[in-house]
Structure formats: structure tokens, C-alpha cells
């Protein structure tokens, strides 16, 4: 397990907004590192720094032991960092297959790579999407006419297809249906097994715990916790993610059809902390929750 990436004391300011402060993260080969946190905690910002989309203002960022300050996503890609962005980074008016290969176009051999191999690229795109359960007979459609989830699948399939040493995914399963989510998680583990390092952002603690080896928690741009898988259980992770506040309490409230609408202004009552439901991590035969397969992966 060699070190692929390492961020130490990273800070980032947008204009007058301090989005990240003193965040550290290390990624090794064959490891899945999950980044968790509330909305606006700075997860996407962290990803964008790794992907070369933004430069960090403070701290050091090393790739394969060498300190870098990436100026463009090209540099990140050249260092083997493939990224799926939360806003997907697709060009709406371009056909699906052109989007799929954008920046990594495949050349015809005969033309010395100058002429692109459109048919080959179409076929590859169709295949890669079919593998995710999306059958798109006409990959010449502008990608802007696809549904939100279909677009997400294209972006993920692209990163996986061209993924080199590090795969970075920003909420890949957010817009996906049950089946597609499963496929994506499977890709993630397959990538890990192939020796890649994966940085995964998700709001779903079950998804995270299912595949993650390391968990970093962000809160208002600062690290609120960093745990190896061995140090933390699903329940604890879930509680930390929810900021310690009580969501079971919410279920109670939801259950009360008499709750006055005026109460809307105070949806979460912090006064009632409860213990989240214990999961059963031991029995692999126990059929897991299909939507959020909470089953624990045995340590290799």
C-alpha cells in the first residue's frame, strides 16, 4: 500500500468565504477514503483541489510523494487522478459519446491518431453505459436531453473508464436509483481491488460504511474527525454525520399527524439525543437492506 495522495493542513478561501481550513487526508493504493459532512461543509471544495480545479491557499498537497500545486484539471489527469464532479462537468449540447471521450479522445491508428475513431468511440460509450444498466441506442443525442441520473451515469462511466491511479467521486449515488447505486458501489470496490485509490463523497452513511476504509468528517470547513474503519462502527459514523442531533426524534414528529404547521420553524429539536438503531454487521447471510446495503465488508 503505497501512498498516492496526501493533503496536510489544506485551506481554501473563496473571495470572502472561508471554505476549508486545516484539512488533512491521506490516500493509499487499494484504499477507499470517504469524506462526509453536512451541506456546505467543504467536501466539493476539497475534491476540486485534488482534481486541480481550484488551487489551495494553504497547506501542502503531495501526489506520489511529490509536492504539487495543480493549476488545471489536465495536470491532475496527467498524474492519474480521474474525477466525477457533483455538477458532472458535461457539455449539454454535445452528443453523449463526445462527452464521454472529451479530453481523452481515441484516435484512429491509420491517421496517426489525428482523426478520431468516431464509431469505435460510439461503441465504447454504448457498452460502458450498458454495463451500468443504461441502454441508450442513440449515443448521438445531446447529453443535455438525458435525465439527471443518466447524465450522472455517463460521468461515472467516463471516470471509471479512464480512471488511472486515483478515482475521485463527489456524491456519485445521489441522483441514482437503487440499481444504479449498487452498480456504482460495485465499480468503486472493483477499482479498489484493482489497486486504485478512491476518494468517495456521499451523504449516505450506509453506502460509505459499506465500502470505506477511512472516514474523514468535515464540519464548516474544518476536520471534525478522521477514523480508520477499524476505529468506528456504522452507528457511530451515522451519529457523527448527523452532527449528534437526533433524527429518530424526527421520526416521532413525523409520526404525529397533529403536529401544527407553525412548528415548521423548529423542525429539529436538539434536546432529545437518542441512540441510533444498531445494525447487524456480523451475519453476511442476513439479507441486507436493498437500498442501503449496510452489510459490513470483512477485513481482508
Amino acid at each position: 500500500m503505497t501512498e498516492l495522495l496526501s493533503l496536510t493542513g489544506i485551506g481554501k478561501t473563496y473571495g470572502t468565504v472561508r471554505a476549508l481550513e486545516d484539512v488533512s487526508l491521506t490516500l493509499r493504493t487499494g484504499e477507499i477514503s470517504c469524506v462526509l459532512g453536512d451541506n456546505g461543509a467543504g467536501k466539493s471544495t476539497l475534491i476540486k483541489i485534488i482534481a486541480g480545479l481550484h488551487r489551495h491557499d494553504e497547506g501542502t498537497f503531495t501526489v506520489a510523494g511529490e509536492e504539487v500545486r495543480l493549476d488545471s484539471p489536465r495536470q491532475a489527469l496527467d498524474r492519474g487522478i480521474a474525477t466525477v464532479y457533483q455538477d458532472l462537468a458535461v457539455v449539454p449540447l454535445m452528443p453523449v459519446w463526445r462527452n464521454f471521450f472529451l479530453g481523452s479522445e481515441q484516435g484512429h491508428k491509420r491517421w496517426g491518431g489525428l482523426r478520431i475513431d468516431a464509431d469505435g468511440m460510439r461503441a465504447t460509450t454504448r457498452r460502458a453505459l450498458a454495463d451500468m444498466g443504461i441502454d441508450l441506442p442513440d449515443v448521438d443525442r445531446p447529453i443535455g436531453t438525458l435525465s439527471g441520473g443518466q447524465r450522472q451515469c455517463v460521468a461515472i462511466a467516463r471516470a471509471v473508464h479512464f480512471g488511472a491511479k486515483v478515482l475521485v467521486l463527489d456524491e456519485p449515488t445521489a441522483a441514482l436509483g437503487v440499481k444504479q447505486s449498487g452498480v456504482v458501489l460495485k465499480y468503486v470496490t472493483a477499482a479498489r481491488d484493482a489497486g486504485l485509490g478512491v476518494v468517495l463523497i456521499t451523504h449516505n452513511p450506509h453506502h460509505a460504511y459499506l465500502v470505506g476504509d477511512h472516514f474523514t468528517l468535515l464540519k464548516r470547513g474544518r476536520m471534525a474527525g478522521s477514523h480508520a474503519r477499524a476505529e468506528i462502527g456504522l452507528e457511530q459514523l451515522t451519529t457523527e454525520m448527523a452532527g449528534g442531533s437526533d433524527l429518530a426524534e424526527l421520526s416521532h414528529e413525523l409520526a404525529r399527524p397533529t403536529a401544527p404547521p407553525a412548528d415548521l420553524a423548529h423542525p429539529v429539536d436538539p434536546a432529545h439525543p437518542v441512540d441510533p438503531a444498531p445494525a447487524d454487521p456480523a451475519d453476511p447471510a442476513d439479507p441486507a437492506d436493498p437500498a442501503d446495503p449496510a452489510e459490513e465488508r470483512p477485513q481482508p
Partner: protein, 345 residues
């Protein structure tokens, strides 16, 4: 994995039909045919073979620039300096040859260097300053307009260049840029060949090369393109270099066919090039369009502007007719495209 397990996302009509309907230039093609038919009906001289040569020539002088300008627009940028850059190219070539008393080829090459340098400047300013291209190229436009005049006056003492037709190399340059062949009454000028060549090259680059893919991407969503590793600044700069090249070709044509060049010309033509591109289906916001469409746009403009003359319509209303024709062509264009997209019921 069984095929039944694969989601078919909606059911689609035959892709070939949809693909034809999705071509940006389909509407322009039908509009071009319509404009042709109108003038064929109302203007008897319009159908003569010789007139056809004149229209083709007029279209080619727009079309040569419309090719790079449409590529640039697909790449999401404008070039307001394209019109005067043509004049700059002609002036440079003429004055360098004359002042150095060199073979005209020297001037031609220096001119190429100058137009490419202007393109480079535009691209560099754009990517360095992040200013909108409208402002950057408007600055270049004004500066070139001023420099055309200032330098010409400085060098020649007047606002036009001296004749260079008696210089060495003129004949061969003229052959390359301004010759003509007549086949059965139809006179085809060299610009038509240049146009055709640029058209094919431009279209091929756009549709069949990696660079073409980048052009669509930087115009469609520069941030997304950058995120997947497309060198946005470099792509746009190369597009400006293309414009420089087109201006060089047309500038040499002007010089070697008219012998002298007026320093004040070219102003306003940049809009005509943009119009040709837009009529041909390019989106003003970038990311969509075609090079072939720009050629159809140039043809529509050429036919309309000369057709009005052949039809002997009142010259006072020339611009009015031209505007109406353009609007109708553009309307027909979108109408066709929308119908085609809706598909057969």
C-alpha cells in the same frame, strides 16, 4: 447479463432520421434553396451562367472568413476584428513588398506572420485577462483600424498603398490568390477554390478530430471542458489563429486582384461573417453549429445581396430587402429545424 435487465430509456425513432434533423445546417440549406428560387423567379439575369459566377464570387469572399469565424463561434467566442484584419493583411503584404522592393512573396509571408500574430494576441488577451471576447476584439478592431490608417499614411504618405503589379512575383501570387478560370461561360475565381478548401478542412477538423471535439466543448461549457482536461485557452487561441489565416487569404486576394488597397476598408464586414455563421446554424452562445452551415449562410447572403441587384429592386430599399430576406431565411431555418426535430407522426 440478460438484455431484459437493461433499461431501454424511452423508445426512440430511427436514429438516422433524427440525426439528419439534428444537423445544424438543414434549415440553412432549405433557406438557401428558397432564396435561390425567389430570385430565379423574379430576376431573369439571375439565372445566367455569368451571374452565377458573380454570386459565387461574392459568396466566396464572405465564406472564406465565415469558415474560421463559425469555428470560433462554435468555440464560444467572437471576433470583431476579423473585418479590418483582412485589410491589415492586404496592407502589410503590399507595403512590405513595396518598401523593401522585394519579391511579392516576401510581403505575403510577412503578412501571414502579422495576421497570425494578431490572432495570437486576441487569444492571449482573452485567456490572460478573462475579458469577454467582445471587448478584447473590439479593442483590437479599433486599434487595427487606427493602425491601418496610421501606418499606411506613415509609410505611403496617403491612405492607400502604391500599385505593386509591376513587381516580381506578382504574377505568381496573382495566380494563387486572384486568378480565374472560365468554363462554359462560368467564371470561377480563385477565392472559390480557397473557400472550398477551407470549408472541407474546417469541417473535417471540427467533426473528425480531437481538436474539433474540444472546439464544441469549450463553446458549450468551458468550465466543464476544463474540468475534464481540455486545454481551453489553447483551443481558443488556435481558433483565433484560424481567423488570422482566413484574413490572410482574403487579404492577399484583395491585394492581388485590385493591386492597391485602401486603408479604411473592411469595417463592418465582421458582422457579415458572423451573420453567415449564425444563419448557417451557429449558436451565438457557442457549442453548436457547423462549418458547412456557414458556407450556406455566405451563399444566402451572396444570393440575396446580388439578387436584389439583378432583380432591379429600388436601390434605396436595398438594405430593407436584405434585412427582410435574412429574417425570412432565419425564420425558415428555425421552422424547418423545429419541424424536423418533432419528426414524423
Amino acid at each position: 447479463m440478460s438484455s431484459s435487465d437493461v433499461l431501454v430509456q424511452g423508445r426512440e425513432r430511427p436514429a438516422a432520421l433524427r440525426r439528419l434533423a439534428g444537423r445544424p445546417e438543414l434549415g440553412a440549406l432549405i433557406a438557401a434553396v428558397a432564396v435561390f428560387l425567389v430570385f430565379a423567379a423574379v430576376a431573369e439575369p439571375f439565372l445566367r451562367v455569368s451571374s452565377f459566377g458573380t454570386v459565387l464570387y461574392a459568396a466566396s469572399t464572405i465564406g472564406i472568413m465565415a469558415v474560421p469565424v463559425s469555428l470560433l463561434m462554435i468555440g464560444g467566442e467572437f471576433d470583431l476584428s476579423a473585418g479590418v484584419l483582412v485589410t491589415t493583411a492586404a496592407l502589410t503584404s503590399s507595403m512590405v513588398s513595396y518598401q523593401l522592393t522585394a519579391v511579392t512573396w516576401v510581403g505575403v509571408l510577412v503578412s501571414l506572420a502579422v495576421t497570425l500574430a494578431v490572432g495570437l494576441f486576441n487569444g492571449w488577451m482573452l485567456s490572460r485577462t478573462k475579458l469577454p471576447s467582445f471587448i478584447v476584439t473590439l479593442g483590437t478592431f479599433l486599434m487595427l483600424t487606427g493602425a491601418n490608417l496610421g501606418v499606411t499614411k506613415l509609410v505611403s504618405g496617403t491612405v492607400s498603398t502604391k500599385p505593386i503589379s509591376d513587381m516580381e512575383g506578382f504574377a505568381s501570387c496573382r495566380w494563387l490568390f486572384a486568378s480565374e478560370v472560365t468554363v462554359g461561360g462560368l467564371t470561377i475565381k480563385a477565392t472559390v477554390w480557397w473557400w472550398l478548401g477551407l470549408l472541407l478542412a474546417g469541417s473535417w477538423v471540427l467533426l473528425r478530430t480531437r481538436f474539433g471535439n474540444w472546439v464544441y466543448a469549450v463553446g458549450g461549457d468551458a468550465a466543464a471542458a476544463r474540468a475534464v482536461g481540455v486545454p481551453v485557452a489553447r483551443t481558443k487561441t488556435v481558433l483565433y489563429l484560424f481567423v488570422g489565416f482566413g484574413a490572410w487569404v482574403l487579404g492577399q486576394h484583395l491585394l492581388f486582384s485590385f493591386d492597391t488597397v485602401q486603408s479604411g476598408e473592411g469595417v463592418g464586414n465582421e458582422l457579415i461573417y458572423i451573420v453567415a455563421a449564425v444563419i448557417g446554424g451557429c449558436l451565438i452562445t457557442g457549442g453548436y453549429g457547423s462549418v458547412v452551415g456557414s458556407a450556406l449562410g455566405a451563399l444566402i447572403f451572396g444570393m440575396a445581396s446580388k439578387g436584389i441587384i439583378y432583380a432591379q429592386w429600388n436601390p434605396d430599399w436595398f438594405k430593407f430587402f436584405l434585412g427582410a430576406m435574412l429574417l425570412l431565411a432565419a425564420l425558415l431555418n428555425t421552422w424547418v429545424k423545429r419541424r424536423a426535430e418533432r419528426g414524423p407522426r
